[in-house]
């Protein structure tokens, strides 16, 4: 048997407003809270990215809107040796600088994790290269690598090891290694301080237990420290690789991509063609061509470095 409730009051029940219903609803409230961030991401991330991808399919020039040209920009870039040189330079730069920053950063983090005198002072001072604006440090390196006034050449000439200045930024390979060295100098603090934070989260007791069980320092490092540090390494190195891959300021100040494009990265080439060159479509296509590499780096770090088994030291 069913029962029907009868409303006794005469006033019709008012349906709550949309806002009230959203606030009362769990999903609605969540949506409201996410809305500002969503709008922010939509306008400042999705829209520019989408626009960039679209521009890559057009022949837009600065000052005039273009027409859709399909893959024409990409076809041209595919046959452009300067573009492929920039791809090679970018990969070379990223791989060598990132590996060196990781190795030296980890080493530095391990040192700073020990009980050193003036520990806090060293930890603070180590951040300096990271804190100094890139353009300023790049200017300093510009002088250090100057073809006539390099302090390195000057010292080596003074002690009689060389008889003429080293052509740091004039020779293609010297230039590549020089910009990598500058990037490493600048990037180490970020890696070191982040890894130091990770190291400090590892309970001392684990190391002590391993030591009691007879593990050597190397074994403690490879079997205890490194596996526990892997999640931090994954995040830090993802950021480090992304920063390095998209580096612009250092190259722009030091060489502008020279000598003869030997240090042109994809970011600097994209800028050169898009802004001073006015070929927005082609510049955008070069920038879009960076995305697969960046995605690959992110996927590698998340799926490659964050595997649980490795973290547990079984891999």
């Amino acid at each position: 048997m069913s029962s029907t409730s009868v409303r006794t009051d005469d006033a019709p029940r008012r349906r709550p407003g949309l806002l009230t219903r959203m606030i009362e609803s769990r999903n609605g409230l969540g949506f409201l809270f996410m809305l500002p961030a969503g709008i922010f991401l939509l306008f400042f991330l999705t829209y520019p990215l989408g626009l960039g991808v679209w521009l890559g399919f057009t022949d837009t020039k600065i000052g005039r809107s273009g027409i859709f040209v399909g893959l024409e920009n990409y076809r041209w870039l595919f046959d452009d040796p300067v573009f492929w040189l920039a791809v090679f330079n970018t990969l070379f730069y990223t791989v060598f600088a990132s590996v060196a920053k990781f190795a030296l950063g980890l080493w530095l983090a391990m040192l700073l994790n020990r009980h050193l005198p003036f520990k806090n002072f060293f930890r603070a001072i180590i951040l300096l290269p990271w804190v100094v604006p890139t353009v300023l440090s790049a200017m300093a390196f510009w002088w250090i690598f100057d073809s006539q006034f390099s302090i390195i050449s000057w010292v080596l000439m003074r002690i009689g090891l060389i008889d003429q200045p080293i052509n740091f930024l004039g020779d293609p390979w010297n230039a590549r290694w020089s910009v990598i060295a500058a990037n490493i100098w600048r990037g180490i603090p970020f890696v070191a301080i982040s890894l130091l934070a990770g190291l400090q989260t590892i309970p001392q007791s684990l190391n002590e237990a391993a030591a009691i069980d007879g593990a050597t320092p190397w074994q403690r490092f490879t079997k205890v420290t490194l596996p526990l540090l892997t999640p931090i390494i994954a995040v830090v190195m993802t950021f480090s690789v992304l920063f390095t891959f998209t580096d612009f300021q250092l190259i722009y100040v030091l060489t502008r991509g020279g000598p003869v494009n030997a240090t042109h990265l994809m970011a600097t080439l994209s800028f050169q063609r898009a802004i001073p060159g006015g070929q927005l479509g082609e510049g955008a296509a070069i920038a879009v061509a960076m995305i697969p590499f960046l995605l690959a780096a992110i996927l590698f770090s998340f799926f490659g470095l964050q595997r649980r088994k490795w973290q547990q030291g079984n891999d």
């Binding site: 020039k61 600065i62 073809s147 052509n167 004039g170 000598p259 003869v260 494009n261 060159g277 006015g278």
Partner: protein, 448 residues
Amino acid sequence: MTIDRRTLLKGSAAMAAAGALIGPFGASRAAAQAAAPAAPGAAPAAAMFTPEEGATLRLLRWVPFVKGEEEAWNANTKAFTDATGVQVTIDQESWEDVRPKAAVAANVGSGPDMVMSWFDDPFQYPDKLVEVTDLCTALGEAHGGWYEGLAAYGQQDGKWISTPLCAIGNAVCYRDSHVKAAGFNEFPTDTDGFLALCTALKEKGTPAGFPHGKAVGDGNNYAHWLLWSHGGMTVNEAGEVAINSPETLAAIDYAKKLYATFIPGTESWLDINNNRAFLAGEVSLTANGVSLYYAAMKDPAMKAIADDIRTTNLPVGPVGKPVELHQTSTISIFSHCKYPNAAKAYLEFMYRSENMNRWLEAASAYCCQALKEFAANPVWTSNPIHAPYAKASESLRVNGYAGPLGPASAGAMADYVLVDMFAEAVTGQRTPEEAIANAERRLQRYYR
């Protein structure tokens, strides 16, 4: 920046008094001038441009390189405001940022009313500019005519789209004592003699140096001189790529020989490196604006170098006449400007003989006149160092010669196509033929 009293006070008293000297910008006076025959130095047909009621203007200009030039420009602007009541705001952008800013302003139809920009910028958005044929024709008639090269930077299809302002001259700067010590009492005027001089300088341990790196100004000036002086060209009159020629090959061959005499490291040189090396006494010969001389002059420690500096024009090659790129600046009025007459009146005022002469003089030979009358400006004879810079407007050849100006010529220069071609060949990274083929391919992309 707005031209206010404080800004003005920074200028010299003479400049500040400019407004008083020039007198009112009244219609009656302007009409009187218009009626009189156009004598050199007279203000042309000012009555044509009566500023609109309540007009205000905004000019976007490149950050000045010479303080005196900025002061004189601002003082002239202040005088214009005093005479007409038209407030002019001047915004400055670093010289490389003017191009994108102006292009965006043209595209979106707002922002500055006028832009002082570089090279072929007006040709990137000619349909977004106010036609200034009336103004430029009047200015040309009143001031002895435009220099051919500079006029080309203002005209498209017979219409004036921009008002040429000046050329930033480029000239050889050298150490007199070193050139004499190398056995040259006279500076050679042809490319063969120049090569012999550079060879001798190297043998004496006082080498020359020209940038083969990505130096926007100096690198492009040098590369264009190399090509043009040997009769080469990037494209022909029809805009067809014509870089692959025996003349280009000859230019590269010459560049290789010259490069062999340079101080090591010029492949990495950006715009500032040649100044630095010259002022430190590391190189004895390079090409630069007059700023190099003034940098030495201002530093008492460099007195010996300053006294030893001489300047001359780049030598003439097989083509038989001086041909150089130089930097060029023009002023364009955007069609979104609400007060085009005020803008034209402003430009007309700035080009009046007394104002333009004051500005050129204050620029200390950094800016070379666009109108022939101003070749008589005392700045060119006040110091022998200035003399070669006076010829900049005469030897100037437009970017992308012999083709049309536009996005293609601008893009090819910004992408360092010629700079790279010479650098690839002189450093041995590619054979001359390969370097030319690569440049040809890149040019074809721009001129498609």
